[in-house]
Structure formats: C-alpha cells, structure tokens
Symmetry: D2
C-alpha cells in the first residue's frame, strides 16, 4: 500500500490549469486529484475565457494575481519563460478547446494532462498525436476510471490468463441526468455537452461512451475492430445523441455490447464492465469500486476487495487505505495524477519513467476518437457493421 506517494526530494510539480473556473465540475476534481498525494502544486491558471471570472476563480484558488491569465496562449507564453514556470498543465475545458490548448502547451515544452475525449474532431485527434510525438513532452489523458485499483486488478487478472481467452465483453455507462432538457434550464454542465460545436459529433457517446470503451479496452487488452451502432436522441430538440446502443467486435474473436445512456432514469453514474472468458468471468461496477467479482470456471464466485486477500500488486500500487475503508472516485482520479507525477519526475531527470507507469496516452485518446467516429458513421449508415480505423 502506498500512502504517501511523494518522495518529493525535488518538490511538488508546478501545475497550471486551463478551464475549471467557478461553477465547473471537472476542474475542481482535477485540483483535488492533483493535491491528494501532494505531488502537484497549482501555481497558474487560465481558468475562464471571461476575464473577470478568470480573476475571481484564481483568487478563490489562492493563485498569485500575476499568474491568473485570461488566455491559455498568454499563460503558455509567459510560463514557459519563467524560471519556476509550470511544468505541466491540466486542460479541463469543453472538448473543442482540448486541441488548440494542448498543442500550444506541448509546443511550449509543457507536459499536458487533458480531459477526455481527446478532441472534438478526428482531424484534431490525428494532428494532436503528431504534435505530442514531436514535442517530446508527456500527454496524459484522464480516462480516470482506469485509475481504480480494482480495474487495475481486473486488467492484471486478464493479462495473467485467469479468465482464459476473452469471449464476451459487456460494457455499460448509464446515467439519467439528461432525461429532461436540463440544458434549457440553466445547467452549464449539460449545455456544452449537447452542443455539437463544443462536444463534437458525439453527445452521450463522447461524454461517457468513450469511458466505457476505454475501460473495456484497458481491462481486456484487446483492440476494438468493428461496431454496429444505434445512436438515438430521445429528448426532443436535443442536437446530439443521448442514448447509445452498440454491438462490438474485438480482436481475437471477442464480441460484446456497449450501452451508454444519459436518459436512464434511476441510474446515477453506472459504469460497469463484465468480461467473460473460457476460464472465468470478471465483473466490476464503478459505483461499488472497491469490489471485483471473479468466478473461475466451475467454482464459486469470489469477492476480491481492494486491499483484501485476493488483490495483487497491480491494485496495491494505487491503494492508499486498508480493506473496508472505501476509496472512491477522487482517489481513482488521483491515481492518474499519481502516475503522471511518476512520469513527470522521471522526465525531470531525463530518466525513463520506468516501465510500470500506467496512464491513458494520446494514442489511447485517438483510439477513443476512432470508436466515436466509427459509431457515429455506423449509426448514420443504419447500423451497418463499421470497421474502427487502426
């Protein structure tokens, strides 16, 4: 178990933030995640495109006024020249800003920690991979659910062959909060998510479908090969999909289904993954993240708990508290930051980050975009099986 993750012989990592001003949800989450293990210190921000809101938000967060920027371009320019400028930036804006902001910081020599999905368009996604490679800087995509210890445990168990050859992959991400037209009732969170100009071609599929896809890919280690998708908009007048039903085909002959919905009343944040192989099955639910159910073929179902008897090193390395002391969403999110910190500290010294550093990369982000793209195209083509670009 690792409780204090910051060897910190050289101090916390200086972090900037783009987006995440007052009223934002995910910005606050990133800040807690960055702070939780003491690895990062937030020192600069371009927290809002609205100058006054940017200033007030920075004040709230205790930033120095001179490091409260009103544009990300300005922040990148100034900070990259400071002796103690930011080493990394967290980009927590709506999707359409991910590309220009990430490009700017990477090119300014600053590591990027970016919210998902990677970008709003396929073109941007492809371009960003090139930018990231060319920059030599780190790019960490916060597919935070892969940070949960029991997700790590599941991945390790699949890799060790404990469930044998994977046959069936059932991924779900069900929410109900968009069952009515809340975007018209003042929900800032909802408004940009249903706006194609800010979200891209996918609504529900980009916002949460990608998480489900990424989780399945992360745990199984398989590549998604094709989809047959049915994207639906149930709430009248909404411009993007709010319910997504997809048949999936994976490498090595695995088949599956993926359901994502934001109109499933009674579901809060019901991301789940069930994987069945020829030697066993694994089941995990995000709302009960400390538990992993494992059934070896022909034996009783077992409950593997975070920190408990059946949990191995892959889980232990991202575990802070003993069994029965539940860790939650913020700790899972912080695990992504913890891995990022490991990689950034290694980069400080020019050392390789060590083979064990695990985080979603810009390439994973591109795969997520290809999943969205193929699904949107399949649905537009009447649900025809559509290959996911490789």
């Amino acid at each position: 178990m690792s409780t204090d993750q910051s060897p910190s012989d050289t101090g916390p990592i200086r972090l900037g933030m783009v987006g995440g001003g007052q009223g934002a949800f995910i910005g606050a989450v990133h800040r807690i995640a960055a702070r939780l293990d003491g690895d990062f210190q937030l020192v600069a921000g371009a927290l809002s495109s609205d100058p006054e809101r940017a200033r007030l938000s920075a004040l709230d967060l205790g930033l120095s006024p001179e490091r409260a920027y009103t544009s990300y371009e300005g922040m990148a320019r100034v900070e990259s020249r400071l002796k103690d400028g930011i080493e990394a930036v967290a980009i927590v804006t709506p999707n359409h800003m991910h590309f220009p902001a990430a490009k700017t910081f990477l090119e300014a020599g600053i590591h990027v920690i970016c919210d998902k999905p990677l970008t709003a368009t396929m073109d941007n996604a492809v371009a960003l991979v090139d930018v990231a490679k060319a920059s030599g800087k780190l790019f960490i995509l916060t597919h935070n659910y892969t940070g949960y210890p029991m997700v790590r445990q599941a991945r390790a168990m699949v890799a060790e062959g404990l469930i044998g050859r994977v046959r069936v992959i059932q991924a779900e991400y069900a929410q109900g909060w968009l069952a009515t037209k809340v975007e018209d009732e003042g929900s800032k969170q909802a408004a940009w998510r249903v706006d194609p100009a800010k979200s891209g071609a996918g609504g529900c599929i980009g916002d949460i479908g990608t998480h489900a896809y990424n989780l399945a890919a992360f745990v199984t280690g398989l590549e998604l090969e094709a989809v047959a998708a049915d994207l639906t908009t149930f709430v009248e007048g909404r411009r993007l999909d709010d319910n997504v039903a997809i048949l999936t085909r994976w490498s090595d002959g695995a088949r599956g289904m993926l359901w994502a919905s934001q109109v499933a009343v009674g579901n809060e944040n019901a991301l789940s993954l069930r994987v069945y192989g020829d030697k066993g099955g694994l089941e995990w639910r995000q709302e009960d993240p400390n538990q992993l159910w494992y059934t070896p073929l022909g034996a009783e179902k077992r409950l593997i708990t975070r920190g408990g008897a059946g949990a191995g090193p892959a889980a232990a390395r991202v575990t802070r508290t003993p069994f029965g002391h539940p860790e939650g969403y913020l700790e899972g999110f912080a695990n992504i930051y913890q891995e990022a910190a490991r990689a950034i500290r290694a980069a400080r010294t020019g050392a390789a980050p060590g083979e064990e550093v695990i985080y979603p990369t810009v390439e994973d982000g591109l795969k997520g975009m290809r999943f969205i793209d193929a699904s949107v195209r399949s649905s537009a083509a009447g649900g025809a099986w559509t290959a996911v670009e490789r």
Copy 2:
C-alpha cells in the same frame, strides 16, 4: 393475497403430460407448478418415447399403469374418449415435438399447456396458431417468468403510465453453464438444446433469448419491430449459437438491447429487465424476484417488494406469502398454472374466463418465433436491421 387458489367446487383439473420422464428437468417443474395450488391432478402421461422409461417414470409418479402411455398419439386417442379423461395436457418435450404433440391434443379437444419456444420452426408456429384457433381449446405457453408477482407489478406500472413513454428497454438473460462442451459430457439437458434438429434454428436465442424478449414485450406492452443481431458460437464444434447480442427497435419509438448468453461464466440464471421512460425507470432481476426497483423522475429510487407497501393488485393476485417470505421460481411457474386453471375452469362451464386471466398465448408464442427468426436472419445477413414480421 391468495393462498388457497382452488375453489375446487368441481374438483381438480385432470392433467396429462407429454415428456418429463426420469432425468428431465422441466417436467418436474411443471408437475410441482401444477400441484402447488391444488388445481390440477396428474392422471396420465406419455413421459418418454422409450417404453420402459415411460413405464418407470409413470410408476415413480404414482400414475395408474393403464394411463402410462408410450406415445402421445395413443394418449390423446384414449384419454379423449374416457369419461374422466384428461382435460389438459402439459407438453414438456424438446422443441421439435411441441408442434405435433400440441396439434394432436388440440384436435382431440384437450387444452394444451406447452413449454417454450412455441415450436422448432416458423412454419410449425404459424400452423399451430391456426390449429389452436380452429380447435376452440385453450393454449397456454409457459413463459413462466411473466408469472412473477413483481413482473406483473412492473407491467401494471408501465400500463398506468408511471414511467411515462418508454424509451429504453435493456433485457438480459445470462447463463454460464454451456461455457464448455457439456453436451459431450453426458448432459442430457445440454444435448438437445444444441441440436438443430431438436431445438430449431436458434440455440441460446431460442432457449433463453425468447424469455428475455417475451419478458420485455410483456412488461412494456410494446411490439418489437426490428432487430440487428449478432449470434455467435463460442464453444468449438457446437452447432447453434451460445451468445446473442441484439439491438432492438420497438413500437412507439422505444429502443433497446437484448443480450442472451450461455457462456457467461459466473452467471447462473441472470434474466433481468430494465425499462426507462420519460417519467421514470423500472429494474427487475429474476434471481431476486421479490424486488422491483422504481425510480420516479427526480426522486429517490424505491424498493417495491412483493406483498409490501408499493405492490398493487396485479402483484397481489399472484402472491401467496407475506412480504419478506420469498417466493421463487416454482411459485412464479405455478402462477401460470394458476391462470391456466382459471381459464380451464371457466371453459368447463362455457363461461368466458374473465378478462383478468393473464397467460402467454399461442400468438405470443408466434411472436417469440418471429423474434428468433428475424434475429437469425439478421445475424446471417451480417447484422443488418431486420424487420420482425407482424
């Protein structure tokens, strides 16, 4: 609550059985279901096509030797002429025998209670509907899961508009018992299920997929309009599908998914239904049948229990024990027999059975066959959206 269901002023209904000899599973279930409320008395049987096994099985069950038949044709011929001959017959054979047996008994003037799916082929299914209509006799299909009190409750709540207009229908039926080739290891239960000659064109989809479809149709009251299906056989050498992934489109604009699997290790008999409308959601799991979860839009999730505060008359009429005293599979199955008994008793007197008698009919069986047929065709056509015949 109805604890003693047999007014029985005219005695129990005389019942025969086709199939269900020693070693069979579902035959024994039918017998317990018939016996549980005291409405039926098993008096005759053609329990096996093997004469000696038929004789021994009848002996086990306490049948008179002279009413232990070696063929269903013989049983129909003789019993239809007896003064106290059987009034109804339970057909519990593999699928391919449903049609000839049912036809024989209906034409002999004997009511039929038949296991699902209706028949092994579409042609037989269509023909059987005609035979049943022409016969003037009752035909009850034992889609037993519709007998559960909380399934009745769910159906009533949807009908009352408590979840509003139905948007999303997620139906699942996951098992794991066919994850290996048990049909080669002496499992009689498995052997006929994976044999196209006995099961028909569908394996998993016919055996359990139809239950999931029927449950969804029963609860929502909607018609299935089209499917896009991916039927897979994972176990090498097996001739029928053992995993089924289907996108569904229903009347009134509802969309859904249906997953049925017999290779999902760790699942026992995990039939479940989740239905989401614009005013609420309902969730039910067969393995926890006494509970129904209901979330009204914008309110907390509620647990409606069989016999409890939130359960209404639709559940109460098929409830025997108070809340907290769990009823199970056999009681749910017996509820189909209970409804059948109501209908048969009414038919004895020539009266209409009363509008409230609820059981799956031959037409429901035909719809189930059309679901199988469309799914098999869709999958064969590479998953194209395929209309379900109406």
Copy 3:
C-alpha cells in the same frame, strides 16, 4: 437434486389439520408445503373452533363434509378409528392450543406436525416431551427455516470444521409490521400474537426470537447455556414484548447476540445468521435464501449458491431447481414436510427412518421454550445472566 420426492409406492400420506381456517396465514402455508412434493393428501380438518367457519373452510379446501370436524378431539377420536383415517395431523393454531391438541393426537396414535413455539407454557412443553416419547409417534416441529438448503449447507460446513471452532454467533430476526398497534385495527394475525393467554409469556421472543435461536443452534450444533436479556414493549398498551435484545453464551465458549424485533420499520422478515470461527465465517440471510457467504480465514469471500459449485450433499438433498432458479419460503417449509414424509413412510413399515432424516423434534421445541423462559426471567431480573435449563 431431488425434483420428485414421492416414491409413493404406497400412496400419499393422509393428513389432517387443526386450525388454519379462512383468514389464517400459516395454515395455508402448511397446506402448500404438504402438497408441493405430492407426499401428503389433506383429507380431514378441524379448521376452526367456529362450526360454520370450520364447515366453509373445509368446503373451500375440497374436504368431504363428513371429515370437516368442529373439534380436534372429535377428529382425533373418529379418524383414529377409520381404516383410512389420517396418519398425521398438522397443528397450526395459536400457541396455547398446541399442547392439548398435540397430546390428543399423539395419544390417539397419530403423528404430529406442529407449528412453533412448542407450547405456550414451560409446564406444557415438559409434559409434551413425555407424551411424545410415550406415544411412540413422530413429532415434527415446523421450525421451517432449518429447511432451507443453504442453512443445511451452513450446518454441514460447521460440522466439517470449515470455520473451525465457533467463537461468535450473531442472530437476528427483524420485522416492522407491529410498529403500530395493528392488533387494534383488525389484524387477526397480530391479535393472538400479543395476547399472553394465547401466546404465552413471550411475544416477539416466542413468535420470532425462537426461530433465530433455533437457527443458530441448528447451524452451529452448540447448546445455549446462558442469556442476558432486555425485553421491551414499545407500542403503548401492548401486553407482550415487541423488541428483544439478548446476549448469549453457548457451549464450547462461543458468545453471541440475538436481536428480534417487530417494530423495526423497514424490515420485512429479516432473519439472519452470522457465525464466526477461528478458521472462517459464514453469513446467511433469509430474504436471500439461495446464497451463503463463506470466508475462509485469509482468503476472499465466496458466494455459495443453492445448486452451485460450492454446495454439497446436505443442500442437494433438499434442492428442487437448478442454480439461479430461486427457491423460497414455501420450498424451505416443504422441506420440513419432505423430511416428515420420509420419517412417516419409514414408520409405516416399522423401519427406522434412516439416520439422515433431519427435522426439529419435540426436544428442540423444549429447548426453544427454555430459551424463551430464561430470557423472560433474565429480563424480569434486570438483565442478569440467567442459565438456560438443560
């Protein structure tokens, strides 16, 4: 798995019933339990002390009018002389009638199946043991919860030493239906339960506390040695306890707690048992009766399911349906009748019933009465540790 339990070479057992007329709950349960496996046939009844209600109830149940008795004494006298008179009687009256009725039938040479608790007074209980012994007839007490397959499984696992030496025994039986004074609002079920003249000295402790005690004793195989009890009446004007808190000491050094309540709003029929030894733990809940949780020391928790991989012969012998097809309260109750049938059939031939017949005996009933007695005395004495008579 045993699906058809009636070898029936000599026909079903002829059964009579005392109590259980229209409006009664437990009488109907006994009848279904007796009928479920086809082992018994109800042929006579003294169903009510009210002649007209007795007659109508018998008519409902399809009894011959001449075997619808208006007193149990009359029924015992007449039936014991009939060639085809009843072989066994089910006594399903309020507690105070158990003793005189049971005594009468035992002395008339008729086996007795009797509801719990054994009697309303200690004196009656002691006397009944003597009567039963002297009669040479069988006495089966329907502590029905011991009939559940997973309770049998738990008992077998403890006996096999799988949890080692038992240390801690936590037994609970929580209900909420008496949280208000329903006995004044026409609840017949409630009325006699809170009447000392009909129930005896214990209310909640006799009605459900004894079940919790009996379950703990059955599973652990230990003897209860002492109690420190706090019996409370929360509902004003009620004459018997409606909440029971007890510290328990068992043979072999085990300690425990027993809580029974009928005022715990939100609990339906929440009987549960948790047993912890020095090598493992077992947990079972009546409302989820098909599941048994087992944690071996130092290993993951395992879910043993009825009919599943971890269930052994003790469970299998009282199992009717495969895993995932839930059995419930009625099947558990029927298992007591099934065991009774085995014993009675053996008694028909004079053979010993076979060592494997398992049912709660008159001696178990006496122990239950001693548990009640000690608890009532302890509570009256301010909660002092009080030895349970041996």
Copy 4:
C-alpha cells in the same frame, strides 16, 4: 456541492503532526485529509520518538529539517514562538500519548486535532476536558465516520423527526483482521492496540467500539444511559478484548445493541448503524457510505444517495462530487478537517466559527471514554446493567 473549500484569503492553516512516521497508517490518512481540500499545509512534525526515524519520515514528507522535531515537547516550545509557527497540531499516536501531547499543545496555544479515543484513561480524559476549556483553543477529535455525508443526512433526518421517536438503535463495527495473533507476527498496527499500556483498559471496545457508540450518539442525538456488556478475548494470550457485545439504554427510552469485533472473519471494516423510530427507519453501512436507506412507516424503502434527490443541505455541505461518483473514507475524514479549518479560520479573526461547524469535541471524547469505562466495568461485574457517568 462544495468542491473547493478553501477561500484561503489568508492562506492555508499551518499544521504540525505528532506521530505518523514511516509505517504508520492513520498518520498518512490525516495528512491526506488535511491536504485534500487545500486548507492545511503540513510544516512541522514530531513524527517518531526514534530520532532517526523522525528525521527520515520528515524528509519523506518534504518538511524542512529544522522543523523535524524529535519530541513533541520541543516542537510545541519552538513552534509556539515562531512567527509562522504551527496553528494546529494533529496527534496521531497510540492512545496513551494523546493526553500529554494534547495538553502540551493546548497550553502552548496551539489548536489540537486528535485521534480517538480521547485518552487511555478516564482520569486523563476528565483532565483533558479541563485543559481544553482553560486553553481557549479548539480541540477536534477525529471520529471521522461522522464526516460522511450520509451520516450527516441521517442525523438531520432524525432531528427533523422523519423517523419519529427513536426506539431501537443497532450499532455494529465488525472486523476480522485480529482473528489470529497477528500482534506476534510483526503487525505494528496490531501490537499497540492489544497492549493495555498503550491502548488503555479497552481493546476492541476502545479501538472500534467507540466509533460505533459515537456514530449512534451523533445520529440519534440521544445520550447513552446504561450498558450491559460482555467483553471477550478469543485469541489466546491476547491481553485485551477482541469481541464486544453490549446491550444499551439511551435517553428518551430508546434501547439498542452494540457489537464490535475484530475476530469476525470475512468482515473488513463493517461499521453500520440502524435506527428505528415510531415513524420510520434508517440504515447505513460504512462500506457503502454513499447510500442511506430510509423507510417511512407504511411506505416503500427509499435509497437516498449522496448528491441525489433525497439528500439535503446537511449532506450537501460535505459533498464534493455528484451522485454516482463515490466518495469514500478519505473524503469523510477530510470533512472533519474541513470543519476544523472553518473553526480555526474563524478563531484567527476572533469570530465565532458559526453555529454550523460540526465536529466531535473533547466532550464527545469524554463521553466515549465513559462508554468504554462503563462497558469494561459492566463486563467485569458479570454483565450487570451499569450507568454511564454523565
């Protein structure tokens, strides 16, 4: 929802720590809790009584070498004179050090945040209350479980009368990690807990029983009046109790039971509380902390979730993430620090902290000690009802 809790116009609170060096569990928890919302900055420590370990631990945590003290006395003396000395100290030592350390810091004018139980002896507890009062400084006891949002919600619901007059209080805290003699196998965590010189007169009762008591008192708002206790040591050679069974009597006529165990194999950290009143019931489990079950009398059970429809302001004020994004143990613990920060910031300006600041006080700690004391005495006196000192 409050995501960024630190207005921080005057910067984070300077925090010191006593105990919590390398290998300690709870020290790391306190540090994360202090850091999570950005309200505190750890600047000094007397992390171990072993000088070298103190030095290395401080290095790990990034403390300045000159503020890495080798004794708490030294730290109090020096820091209290520094211009930027610590404003508060977290005491995370074994129990016997709580009193001398807390006294020293309070008398040096430094606020104290102290782990539970309050002290190792009653005398110390009584004395500490006086010291705290005299000092005019804040004393916050980290009964962290009262920080959970749904515990706050439960308390508010009881206070609002939603379950009516409280009748029954069932509190449990079950663990299994001390089922064997791990204190002899190198478990530092176990070793001091079972040592009377470090823990005090209570083992399990002081370590976790107090949490269960405190939780029940916090939620119900009632005073514990008397206990009848049975403290047992199951593991041979252990010097303190490892299983605790207590009957409880509370003010206003409520009754209850409290079970705490460290030998219940299969339990991880199973703290739970169930409270039943004459108008409803509430149930909460620490291992599923985001859920609160509420049953109004005569209605269906409802699931109130953190951030969800049924959660009110008492929960919202300590909630960081939306429904379905689970918060866990660390967030609950951080809520105590968050409240402490509110109080300390108010104290900076001399203002009252506002009536809404909620944290366990030194008086609550004294009550916890009286609970331990009465229980130990009751058990020693053979379980006699023993008044809890007031």
